[in-house]
């Protein structure tokens, strides 16, 4: 049996993001990509499940950046068994979460996994729609904000976090789709040598897809964040500054 993990690349915000002159896209030449942080946790959780039960881990992604290989090879180096990349005219576009789920659903059904794990949300999916949409399309049970999993016969036990830190334990019949908030362990380190070895020795399977025609909202304009005008520059000697910081913290009840 397999565990499918969905990986998505998102713009790295360590470098300042620039907007393309068109006003409706980022300046892609200056953007670098990282794997969505929650997806890293989804992969780690899957690898931990594999260590306990011996399932195969398959990573799946839609290559909208043209750079997905790096993320897939890294996942293979970390211990995934297979990598599947959806390619086609989607490269260079931003897919809506709904379109993404639409492309992934048939590929995932084909893999007939025991579980699908993906990040609970992403910078371009802040409302965390991917896992529920996939669950709906596949007609498999779904839950999100997952912080721990355990596989049992025909079901998966899931721990999820509710408000106020309350934990909830549930059981879902498998196959199920999970939005992972945090893996049980910090996503593991993979030495660069291992990634390079994976690049030499493993293959990424490719599936051709076409950008779906969808009735999605149309992007009219991207804007850089505007200064809220509430920032206060603290000046003076270090002790003046410390005094002022303490004052502010006290005023907000934080100290």
């Amino acid at each position: 049996m397999t565990l499918a993990v969905i990986l998505k690349q998102v713009p790295d915000v360590v470098e300042e993001l620039a907007i393309d002159p068109s006003g409706t896209d980022l300046d892609r030449d200056s953007v670098s990509y990282v794997v969505n942080e929650f997806d890293e946790h989804a992969l780690e959780e899957a690898l931990l499940l594999r260590e306990a039960t011996g399932e195969d881990v398959v990573v799946v992604g839609v290559d909208t950046t043209g750079e997905l290989d790096q993320a897939l090879y890294t996942a293979l180096a970390k211990g995934a068994q297979r990598a599947v990349k959806l390619v086609g005219d989607v490269e260079g576009s931003w897919l809506s979460t709904r379109a993404l789920a639409g492309l992934l659903a048939p590929v995932i059904r084909e893999l007939s996994p025991r579980l699908v794990l993906t990040g609970v949300q992403a910078p371009d999916d802040l409302d965390g729609q991917l896992a529920p949409t996939l669950g709906a399309l596949l007609d498999w049970p779904h839950t999100g904000v997952v912080v721990g999993t355990e596989l049992a016969d025909g079901l998966v036990r899931v721990r999820k976090e509710l408000w106020g830190g309350i934990m909830l334990d549930l059981e879902l019949a498998t196959p199920a789709v999970l939005g992972i908030q945090a893996a049980r362990a910090t996503p593991r380190y993979v030495p660069v040598g291992r990634v390079r070895q994976a690049m030499r020795e493993s293959t990424i399977e490719e599936v051709e897809v076409e950008t779906p025609v969808e009735s999605a909202p149309k992007l009219s304009r991207l804007r850089a964040p505007e200064a809220a005008g509430r920032a206060e520059m603290l000046t003076g000697s270090p002790s003046d500054v410390v005094e002022r910081i303490l004052e502010i913290l006290r005023a907000r009840g934080l100290y």
Binding site: D12, E16, G79, T186, R188, P191, G193, R194
Partner: protein, 435 residues
């Protein structure tokens, strides 16, 4: 007679023994018979010594010379002899926190009669630990991930690597902009490009280079970490990737020599990059400035009323043999008093930042009586100095933190040689150039 003493059995002596003409008959040649000394299994030692590069681990004959000179033992419980003994008693270095405590300072190798070389052993064993998927300390993992992703361990944006230049106050040519050959390619490295106190020293050095009329340029955003400390922390694959990329970048430009701010980069360029096809004439900035002393002297016009002491960086001194250049520069500073610390030159203490220690600070601190940097700061204070002079970019932040944590803030300052020279030249004030 003490009743607890008993006659030792199996004592052998020859009534008549003459060796090379010397008569050692009777008790003079007394020997014990065979005793059990193999009260351990050598398996763990053999395992370590089987890793490429770690062979010398097995050569230790337990003489113990290395332990008192090990800077980690001074504040804890360490040294090659102890690691060997632990392996004898069944504690595997691969799974012990000891694996991450060696700073590869090389002081043990200096005294070891058997050439047990921790500078080779540690990266080899650490690499095996990483490749076998053993967890690594979180701080180190973050630094390695940052280096792989951004080309610097601080996790700073690559494009900002040249941002300090705008505060330099003098032109700092960036090669991808000027598109002409230079004589000196200045390899600035990560901390001098991003860390606020590192930037202070970079600005000072840029002004000195400019005042000397040196024909220099930097790579700016194209430069990536030279990677030596990541290699010593066990990430050889990451080091190789960085070396290949840096060598490719360097091949695009024409220059005659490289001058580095960072002794770790010096070490990488001298000893490792040639293996990957990168052959360069590399100088530490103190060596270059010491050579320029005849031209520098007349420019050193301001009196500096400081009492100085100097910390030899492991990777400049023991690893690359440069002890004199920094001292020549210090002695050229007008008005200063200079006192050596007891542990100096070949026997210099270690700041704790080498071999990955820069990114293992809390991990190591939790296992030692005090940080190595704190031990060193106390030694500097004991000389009566008011300024601890450094010339390695790892040290300024380590020692400044240690000055605070040992309670000597306001009594001991940490300054790069470049800052003191620039101050004596009137190029910066007493306060950092960009405070």
């Amino acid at each position: 007679m003490d009743s607890s003493l008993r006659k030792v059995q199996d004592v052998w002596e020859q009534d008549t023994a003459i060796v090379e003409g010397v008569d050692i008959s009777g008790p003079w040649n007394r020997m014990f018979g065979q005793r059990v000394i193999w009260n351990y299994t050598p398996e763990l030692i053999d395992e370590i010594a089987s890793f490429p590069g770690a062979e010398s681990f097995a050569w230790c004959y337990q003489c113990g010379k290395c332990v008192p000179v090990c800077p980690v033992d001074v504040v804890g419980d360490y040294g090659p002899r102890k690691l060997y003994r632990k392996a004898q008693t069944g504690i595997s270095l691969l799974d012990s926190p000891d694996l991450w405590l060696c700073t590869t300072c090389m002081n043990c190798l200096r005294v070891c009669p058997k050439q047990v070389d921790m500078v080779q052993i540690m990266p080899a064993v650490r690499e095996q630990a990483l490749l076998s998927g053993r967890p690594l300390p979180a701080e180190l993992q973050e630094a390695l991930e940052n280096t792989a992703r951004y080309g610097n361990p601080l996790g700073q944006p690559p494009r900002k690597r040249e941002a300090w230049v705008k505060d330099a106050g003098v032109p700092v040519p960036i090669l991808h902009q000027i598109q002409r050959p230079v004589e000196w390619l200045w390899w600035v490295e990560c901390y001098p490009s991003y860390h606020p106190r590192g930037i202070d020293a970079s600005i000072a050095l840029a002004r000195i280079f400019h005042a000397l009329g040196l024909d220099f340029g930097i790579l700016g955003r194209e430069e990536k970490c030279a990677g030596d400390s990541q290699r010593l922390a066990g990430e050889r694959g990451l080091f190789e990737m960085l070396a290949e990329e840096n060598i490719r970048t360097l091949s695009k430009y024409e220059f005659r020599h490289i001058v580095v701010t960072d002794p770790h980069a010096l070490n990488a360029f001298r000893k490792q990059y040639p293996k990957y096809g990168g052959q360069y004439d590399v100088w530490h900035y103190t060596t270059l400035l010491a050579r320029e002393l005849p031209r520098l002297h007349p420019l050193l016009t301001r009196q500096l009323p400081y009492r100085l002491t100097f910390h030899d960086p492991c990777y400049l001194g023991r690893h690359n043999g440069e002890y004199d250049a920094p001292r020549q520069l210090i002695e050229a500073l007008p008005g200063v008093e200079f006192t050596e610390m007891p542990r100096c030159r070949q026997n210099s203490y270690c700041c704790g930042g080498g071999g990955g220690g820069m990114w293992l600070d809390s991990f190591a601190a939790g296992r030692q009586r005090r940080r190595l940097s704190e031990e060193r700061v106390l030694e500097a204070v004991a000389t009566g100095a008011d300024t601890l002079v450094i010339c390695c970019p790892y040290e300024v932040s380590r020692f400044e933190d240690a000055v605070k944590s040992t309670g000597y803030e306001g009594r001991l300052r940490v300054r790069d040689i470049a800052e003191l020279l620039a101050e004596a030249m009137g190029l910066i004030g007493e306060e950092p150039a960009k405070a």
